[in-house]
């Protein structure tokens, strides 16, 4: 019999701590931190299939750059993440790098909690303004200072079930969905699909549920298509065009009334219905792509249909920011920019998750163009409908949740479009009159 190996207390403790650390980091540490390595602490909120792809990219970077160790820390998406960034950034002892939604940039007190991007270091790593989609690059600035490096846009897209749409005769000879233009064509296509499905509602999106933002996403897409604005140019007054806003809300309600949309579905149910072929169309962000492929749903996707004029689609963008640090180590800083540049330049790998790269050269890469159906909707990148630049906007923001709550009962028919709009405007007024928690003079 062999004796059990002699484990010292220190070794055991160290091993346990390392394990705990690995667990806390989402088991994402690609290799141990060697003494000669530069450590870059990276916080992100990319979970599920997004997270797996990001982890692969971090590992690929580690292979090419053995002298840099990227410590990946995966945190929960949404408000808790932004609260953490704000607190870490204000303390000045924050991670070296973090992901961010571009539309949240105005609400975080960029100068106080985020450090400006060093444009020179970015150029040294081969990235300039010309490499990025102009409206998105523009949005990464606050008062002319660059605070974020755009990574992608994740717009609302149209997922369609190829099998059902084929039965309904909606596919062209190339097997792709024939585009519709305007309300009537879309309604006609939905009705034909409904008939082909034996009277089941063919369209799904998250119309209700816990803090749902689906109603906001759909409304903002369609309203932006009709050319409407939310706020005045200086972002201080409501500038909603009532006629246009109501037209969109009436249309959204009509979908429910005519049985073209199952308005009883929340986020999970809408995706599940589409996955299982219970719905032929899904209006959602592009991030469900990987999941749908894994579950072998016969689907493809395309740009959100043009209904009220243009082909605009609600979107937000992932980007990279540098949370404020009191003393930034120049060596770590160089490593951080190298890592960012690596991720941005390899956007084609990231696009597997469904997102449209903000890095323009990636849009022409054969690797990206080969991605099906991810490259189908890439042209949307110049027509994205971003949020107004105010502190209460952006992914998982008060604006999204309040508007989602106001419009959800309109879709279900419990409220009239007028009531829904009034509720939304009241909420918007409340947000406008509340003081910005990160006012300008702080910068």
């Amino acid at each position: 019999m062999q004796d059990p190996p002699d484990i010292s207390r220190r070794l055991l403790l160290g091993g346990t701590l390392a394990l705990a650390g690995a667990a806390a980091a989402g088991c994402a540490i690609p290799m141990g931190l060697g003494s000669s390595q530069t450590r870059v602490k990276y916080w992100h909120f990319l979970g599920a299939s997004d997270g797996i792809i990001m982890n692969k990219m971090v590992q690929a970077f580690a292979k090419d750059n053995p002298e840099i160790f990227v410590e990946e820390n995966v945190l929960a998406w949404g408000e808790p993440f932004y609260t953490k960034i704000a607190m870490a950034g204000s303390g000045g002892r924050s991670p070296d790098l973090a992901t961010f939604h571009l539309a949240r940039l105005a609400g975080i007190g960029a100068g106080a909690t985020l450090d400006p991007i060093n444009v020179k270091l970015l150029e040294e790593n081969g990235l300039t303004a010309a490499d990025f989609s102009p409206p998105i690059w523009e949005r990464a600035h606050i008062d002319g200072v660059l605070y974020a490096i755009p990574f992608d846009a994740h717009p609302m897209v149209l997922y369609y079930n190829t099998e059902i749409c084929g039965r309904a005769g909606l596919l062209g000879p190339d097997g792709k969905l024939k585009p519709t233009n305007g309300v009537d064509e879309l309604m006609a296509a939905l009705r034909r699909t409904k008939d082909a499905m034996g009277g089941k509602p063919p369209l799904a999106f998250d119309a209700l549920g816990l803090g749902t933002v689906g109603p906001w996403r759909v409304w903002w897409t369609l309203y932006a298509q009709s050319g409407g604005a939310l706020l005045s140019a200086d972002n201080t007054k409501i500038a909603i065009d009532d006629a246009k806003a109501l037209e969109v809300l009436r249309f959204m309600q009509q979908l429910g009334k005519d049985g073209l949309l199952d308005w009883r579905t929340d986020y999970g149910a809408s995706v599940a219905n589409f996955t299982n072929g219970q719905a032929a169309f899904l209006w959602n962000g592009d991030w469900e792509t990987t999941g749908l492929k894994e579950r072998k749903t016969p689907f493809s996707m395309t740009r959100f249909p043009s209904v009220f004029g243009t082909g605009a689609a609600q979107a937000d963008c992932h980007s990279f920011v540098l949370p404020h640090q009191r003393n930034r180590d120049p060596e770590v800083e160089r490593a951080t920019y190298r890592f960012i540049a690596y991720l941005v330049k390899n956007s084609a790998d990231w696009a597997v998750a469904g997102h449209v790269p903000a890095y323009l050269p990636a849009l022409k890469e054969p690797d990206y163009l080969k991605l099906e159906p991810q490259s189908e909707y890439r042209s949307v990148i110049t027509e994205v409908a971003l949020d107004p630049q105010v502190w209460f906007a952006g992914s998982a923001s008060r604006l999204w949740i309040e508007f989602g709550q106001a419009f959800s009962p309109v879709i279900g028919g419990q409220h009239t479009p007028e009531e829904g709009l009034a509720t939304a405007k009241a909420a918007l007024n409340r947000l406008l009159s509340a003081p910005n928690p990160f006012p300008d003079q702080e910068r």
């Binding site: 932004y82 106080a112 803090g211």
Partner: protein, 306 residues
């Protein structure tokens, strides 16, 4: 020997006076550790919160300007604040009454069922052992969903329990009652078991019916327990947050948004820590008022009964 006896005798009057006033160095020494923790973790944060509620401070701790009662003025003029406060009151009334009554009824039942008592006790108290997250997911994902949920599936109905303004609050109350009634039940059961059996025997000899025994012996002797349970329940209900946050997030249309959820939204989604502190203080004052009123009521009742 004589000296040792004499010395304390000489010091006695001073010490005695101190003891009478409730003050000794020894006592202070024993209390000090607790007092320190009490000050550090209760008194100081309470004062700090008060100071924050009078400023515009954000979640990052910056923008810390004194703005007087600005936050309070804003809160009192925000219809959503009043709506959330009203929801909290509605929830408190709707939940406290069944929680106290059912707690009593279940305790009486179990007390009088003389076989497999542990099973009845466990079945009423069991849900209380579950964490709020488990309870919320259970009801949210398995019992309430339209279509396949346990209730709708069994009854063949299509009630939108948590997604309609007319049913959402009641659904949350129902879940809360199921989940927490066990605590009151346990307190009542303990009180019932401490009532001397001979009282009932004497009453039975005098020919009192079961109903008379309940009305004239059991309920009066449970008075103190009831007072305690009502106080605890009111305070717990006023502070409702977890199950609402997890099951409806305050929706639909703010119909279940409690005042704590409102403070949470303002502080963490809206980043406005100062404003959230002001809202917390409004709730704090409300709770203090409720406690004082209760104290008054029960003191009077105690005086009357004695």
């Amino acid at each position: 020997m004589t000296t040792t006896v004499a010395a304390p005798a000489a010091a006695a009057p001073v010490t005695e006076a101190k003891v009478r006033r409730g003050w000794t160095q020894h006592g202070m020494l024993f209390v000090a550790p607790f007092l320190l923790i009490y000050v550090a973790f209760l008194v100081w944060p309470v004062l700090l919160g008060l100071r924050m509620s009078l400023s515009s401070v954000n979640v990052a701790g910056t923008n810390n300007h004194f703005i007087g009662f600005g936050n309070y003025a804003e809160a009192f003029s925000d219809p959503l604040m009043w709506h959330s406060l009203w929801n909290t009151v509605v929830f408190t009334v709707l939940s406290t009454i069944p929680l106290v009554l059912l707690g009593l009824v279940f305790a009486l039942l179990v007390h009088n069922l003389r076989f497999v008592q542990w099973l009845w006790r466990l079945s009423f108290f069991g849900p209380f052992l579950l964490p709020s997250a488990v309870v919320s997911i259970l009801w949210l994902q398995m019992i309430y969903p339209p279509g396949y949920g346990l209730i709708n599936g069994t009854l063949g109905t299509d009630v939108p329990w948590l997604t309609d303004t007319s049913t959402a609050m009641l659904s949350v109350v129902l879940t809360t009652v199921w989940w927490t009634v066990g605590f009151n039940f346990l307190l009542y059961l303990a009180a019932l078991q401490s009532i001397p059996q001979h009282l009932y025997e004497a009453a039975a000899i005098d020919g009192a019916s079961a109903w008379q025994r309940l009305r004239s012996i059991t309920l009066p002797l449970l008075g103190r327990t009831t007072a305690l349970i009502v106080v605890l329940q009111l305070l717990a209900s006023l502070k409702v947050f977890d199950q609402i946050y997890l099951m409806t997030a305050g929706g639909p249309e703010n119909s279940t948004r409690s005042i704590i959820e409102y403070a949470y939204d303002m502080g963490f989604t809206g980043y406005r820590t100062g404003y959230a502190s002001a809202v917390s203080y409004i709730l704090f004052v409300l709770i203090v008022i409720v406690s004082l009123v209760q104290l008054r009521l029960f003191r009077k009742r105690a005086e009357v009964s004695s």
